[in-house]
Amino acid sequence: MRSDTPALLGYFERMLLIRGVEDEIARLRTAGDMVGSIHLCSGQEAVYVGAVAALDLSRDAVFPTYRGHGWALACGVPPEALFAEILGRVAGINGGRGGSAYFTAPRYGMYGENSIVGAGAPIAAGAALAAAFDGSGRVAVAAFGDGALNQGAVHEAMNFAAVRGLPVVFVVENNAYSELTPIADMTRNPELFRRAAAYGMPGGRVDGNDPDAVARAMETCVQRARDGAGPALLECVTQRIVGHYIGDAQHYRPAGDLDRAVAAEPIGRLAERLSAEGVAAGELDAIRARVADRVQAASRLALDSPPADPATALEHLYA
């Protein structure tokens, strides 16, 4: 066992949990227990566990997208609260008010998905603006997909954060598709991190299928933001191994694209690395079994929770 093996085992277990939760959500959606549009993050897990490993969630704040289950689980949101939220149950993290695509978990440092592409970026800049006055040392993470780089609000947020030197890390989950359209067809320069230079902030690209690499790059960005050196843009190159939403037939993916994505996905790759580092197959299997049990137990707990009460639907609108 090498010195980094325990950390890698931690990533392995957390990524398995995210994958397992997403698989169970797909099952519940297909079975009809869950309704509505649900966007899974399977294949992109290394970005979440790597990035969150570099954060101090007692003070930092993450603002993910509607593809946010993985961010939430990486931040420590209990899977039963996530299942119940998507099921619209009382035990949901927001009692069913957020659903799959717009829930928030501030207790866990996860300040809300956003179903409007790119809209969380200026809000994350605002969280960082507060940090500039409250002495908390908070770093805000604005996470979004490659498609969001073409949203005006993201441009505004990056310029605003850069010009005020705000402690924000802009994390791009580049999974190559802006919803159903290749990002390479929607921008002349698909090296998205290069945009950072235009705002006068550092930008870099990292292998988004390697949680360790993401964590190291993220640590650099977070530390300089915390030290008052301002924002940075980190592009994590990854891929979806599922559709944009559950039910997406993915006809737009060329032949072989999905196979390549599956071959590159981070969990299998990390399992190979751990084996090479001397971790026994039995140990990895034990982790897999533990995670599978946890997912099933969480799913059962959530399904046992009653539906949210319509009599409460008008509460909490105003102070």
């Binding site: 927001n94 501030p106 300040y111 409007i116 605002g126 969280a127 102070a319």
Partner: protein, 355 residues
């Protein structure tokens, strides 16, 4: 970190503040006094927007505040989404931002932050996180303004549950309502009017308690017709009412002040006194908030002497030429004629003329 200890708060949620004094102020000066007081008494407040700090605002409203409060008052890029999103994010973490959107027309490029973001923060989190932002903006037509600098969009915002909307029309209200907005824990939009900024000075009572948001005010008493109005156009309404008084028609003028929270009791009381209702706003009549007021009165079952009348902007874009504007917007003459017909029981010859 600044000390966030709040001022003593009484049981009603109002805050007892500074010494009370009265000064003669313009509307703009009253706004400036309110901002200064908020920045002094609430260390968690921030004030930002385009040109508000070093230049002191394009209308001079925020003059001197950057000098007094330093980095808490700052200029932003021309980026309405960043301004409003930045305000929301900062508010979620304990700041109390006062963001300026220079013209209400510019809010449209960042409507996402006002409609999809701010009002959802408290609701979705069930109060775990809140976004107590105050958005100051100004609206309405002024001489020579173009179609993109003349609109009255209060109905847009009043339509959104979770947003509070106020439109001060006097220097005293410019002061009081802005402070109530800043003290309020909801997202609040205060829609000022630039044609009022540098008008006549009047006595403004400064200091004292900051009251809660809400509450209409009777601006003029009268027994023949109730005019429900808000914003700068009510000065035309008051002029028209004086004109009618000379003819023996006494109009009661109720300034709604806040569209959210609405004061339905004040509307019902005022209308029940005269049993005639006219609603006057500078915004377009079609889909305007006046329909909400008429609906409220209709639903209340009050027995009216005549059908209600709405007087507002005709369905057109707002032209720039000063000579064209009266073809669209309400004027003193249109208002007086509308009220006269309502009281005398005459049918409008051309209903379009009122709109």
């Amino acid at each position: 970190m600044p000390d966030l200890t709040l001022l003593p708060t009484d049981a009603t949620g109002t805050t007892t503040g500074t010494t009370i004094e009265t000064k003669r102020l313009t509307y703009a000066e009253a706004v400036n006094h309110a901002l200064r007081r908020a920045l002094r008494e609430r260390p968690e407040t921030l004030l930002f927007g385009e040109d508000v700090a070093k230049p002191g605002g394009v209308f001079g409203v925020t003059k001197g505040l950057h000098r007094e409060f330093g980095d808490r008052v700052f200029d932003t890029p021309i980026s309405e989404s960043a301004i409003l999103g930045g305000a929301i994010g900062a508010a979620m973490f304990g700041r109390r931002p006062i963001a300026e959107i220079m013209w209400i027309d510019f809010s449209l490029v960042a409507l996402d932050q006002l409609v999809n973001q701010a009002p959802n923060v408290r609701y979705v989190s069930r109060g775990a996180v809140t976004a107590p932002i105050t958005v100051r903006t100004q609206a309405g037509n002024g001489p020579g303004a173009c179609a993109q600098h003349s609109q009255n969009l209060e109905a847009f915002f009043a339509h959104v549950p979770g947003l509070r909307v106020g439109m001060p029309s006097t220097p005293q209200d410019a002061y009081d309502m802005l402070l109530s907005a800043v003290w309020c824990d909801d997202p609040v939009i205060v829609i000022e009017n630039r044609t009022l900024y540098h008008g006549a000075r009047s006595d403004v009572r400064l200091g004292g308690e900051v009251g809660p948001i809400g509450g209409a005010r009777v601006r003029r008493e009268g027994s023949d017709v109730t005019v429900v109005t808000w914003g700068a156009v009510q000065n035309l309404v008051l002029d028209a009412a004086e004109e009618l008084a000379a003819e023996g028609i006494e109009a009661e003028v109720l300034d709604l002040r806040w569209l959210n929270p609405l004061d339905p009791a004040a509307v019902r009381d005022a209308v029940s006194r005269t049993r005639r209702l006219a609603v006057v706003h500078e915004a377009h009549t079609f889909g305007g908030f006046g329909a909400e007021v008429v609906g409220l009165v209709a639903e209340s079952g009050l027995d009216l002497l005549a059908p209600p009348v709405r007087i507002g902007a005709a369905p057109a874009r707002i032209p720039s030429a000063v000579s064209l504007v009266p073809g669209v917007l309400p004027t003193r003459e249109k208002i007086a004629n509308g009220l006269r017909r309502l009281v005398r029981g005459e049918k409008a010859h051309d209903a379009g003329a009122l709109r």
